[in-house]
């Protein structure tokens, strides 16, 4: 009998081979795809919390996300077959003029780890491209990233463009120079200091238990 606790432990430890083989085993034994998914999102939830607490660092978080990503390739067809949907859609990108992507990628990984469908627009994303993506994908949350003090003002321009388009989507921001005060000042709906907190933030918006 495949042990879902072991699967959670394998994802947390970033052990992709074990995570993939335990997923295969669990499916073969008829474990419900939703239960397997829950075992993995629970792992990523605790990875995010440990990262926020400073117990683990970026390398450990990256390999955990990779382990889940690879196990998800095995699980996805069964999730589709069982009609399990992502809990929500999110759009994310680094604002125009800024080419940094590690922080943004970490947040995208953590959101995926919480079973959210993530549309990643990449870096140097124009305000109009965010507006278009929101129209097309109807996300519950948009995440804006910036690493530079010089590109921070583009966050405000992007928020203004989204509001001018009539969208009431929740907008959350993050990045090295960002403070909660700045988020409030430019009327963002939320701010997260790190990728683990970003996952907790979106769960709050969705009222999904951790």
């Amino acid at each position: 009998m495949a042990d879902l606790e072991q699967l959670t432990a394998a994802v947390e430890a970033g052990n992709r081979k074990t995570a993939t083989s335990l997923t295969t085993e669990a499916l073969a034994e008829g474990v419900a795809p939703q239960a397997i998914l829950d075992a993995m999102t629970s792992a990523m939830g605790s990875v995010g919390a440990r990262f926020s607490a400073g117990d683990i660092f970026v390398p450990e978080m990256l390999i955990a996300a990779r382990a889940m990503k690879e196990a998800m390739l095995v699980l996805e067809p069964s999730l589709v077959g069982a009609g399990v949907q992502p809990v929500a859609t999110a759009v994310i990108g680094t604002v125009e003029g800024d080419l940094h992507d590690i922080g943004k990628n970490l947040v995208a990984m953590m959101w995926k780890g919480a079973n959210i469908a993530v549309v990643d627009l990449g870096v140097n994303v124009s305000p109009q491209a965010f507006v278009d993506a929101v129209t097309e994908h109807k996300p519950v949350v948009v995440g804006l990233s910036a690493l530079l003090t010089t590109t921070m003002p583009m966050m405000k321009t992007t928020i203004d463009a989204l509001r001018a388009s009539g969208s009431s989507v929740k907008i959350v921001i993050g990045g090295a120079p960002i403070t909660p005060e700045y988020a409030e000042q430019i009327h963002a709906d939320g701010y997260a200091p790190d990728a683990g907190s970003a996952a907790a933030l979106i769960r709050d918006f969705l009222e999904v238990p951790a």
Binding site: L62, R66, I102, P193
Partner: protein, 384 residues
Amino acid sequence: MPEMTSRERVHTALSHQEPDRVPTALGGGPYSVVDDLYHRLLPALSLPGPVEPFRSGHNVSYMDDRVLELLGTDTRYVWPTMSPSSPVEGEDGGLIDGYGQPWNRALPYYYPAAGILEDAEDVDAIEERISWPDPTDPKWTAGVRARAKALHEGTDKFVVARMVTSHGPYQTASDLRGAEQFLMDMAADPEFAQTLTDRVTDSIVGLIRAYLDAGGEYFDMIELPGDDYATQSGLAMSPAMFRQYFKPAIVRMVSTIKTYRPEIRVMLHCDGAITPLLDDLADAGVDVVHPLEPLPATNIEQVKATYGSRLSFLGAIDIKQALPGTVDEVVAEARLRISQLAPGGGYILAPANHVQPDVAPENLIALFEAARKYGQYPIRVPVA
């Protein structure tokens, strides 16, 4: 106290004693001025025209001793002719660095394109795919000896050898492997991460040795290649992982220099909130840390109290808010950092990074005037 020469002033400070006044520096590998500001500084200092750029394809291209003389700074620089981690224009017009890694231009900076080792599956690719620089090629150090000798014998300035390459073992490995992939290797493929780190370190140690052979007898300090082990809010990796991969690399670079001549001071540039690594850096033999960035995550007074007897600090002047601000804000920043870091010596006042185009020439001039005025020992701490 009688006025010291620049060289005496810096050596005294780096020996953790109080000189006549706080030494100052501008022009090093990570604390120079961008070209735009350089061209605006010239008329502000009544200088006729620019000197020849010391390199091309970069936005920090001038090493002008006239400017440093007029600003009154204590350090003068020697630089390698070429740096393997700086991209140059290749035959097809694209940017390529000395390891063969392609880069993308995104002025004012460059970003590595997909790493040439990104999809490598085993360590053999490290030798096969990378053009490791030949440190015995005289092109790296042409001109170093003549300039170092002239500065040592013809001036009383403190002679600093700029870094042999901009990026140290961690960042070079990240450039070549892709940053995310290398971080994952560090956690999940230690053989690959260790082999790549060691190979990059071999290459840098070879270049440092060639640099020392060229002009080491005249160097007062060498800058190690820069490596940012931290972000603005915290470490990029656990202290344990830093000790596993990068501390041994720093020990090798430092011991190469100290074996050649123990009196040469060693500076390491590492941005970000690095407080948890300072003990290890001191332990590895680093003498001077740049820039001790003023960040919410860094308690400068506490750093000075805890590590000030083992490490000296160069930098700490905020380039993001203070330097682009008013002259009063610049003066206040100089006084604040002097009061926090200068008591007992161990501090060289300098910008925390290259000074950007958003800074007025008058502000930079005011910074060094303030350093001279308020940096007289004994330091009088300003009343808040």
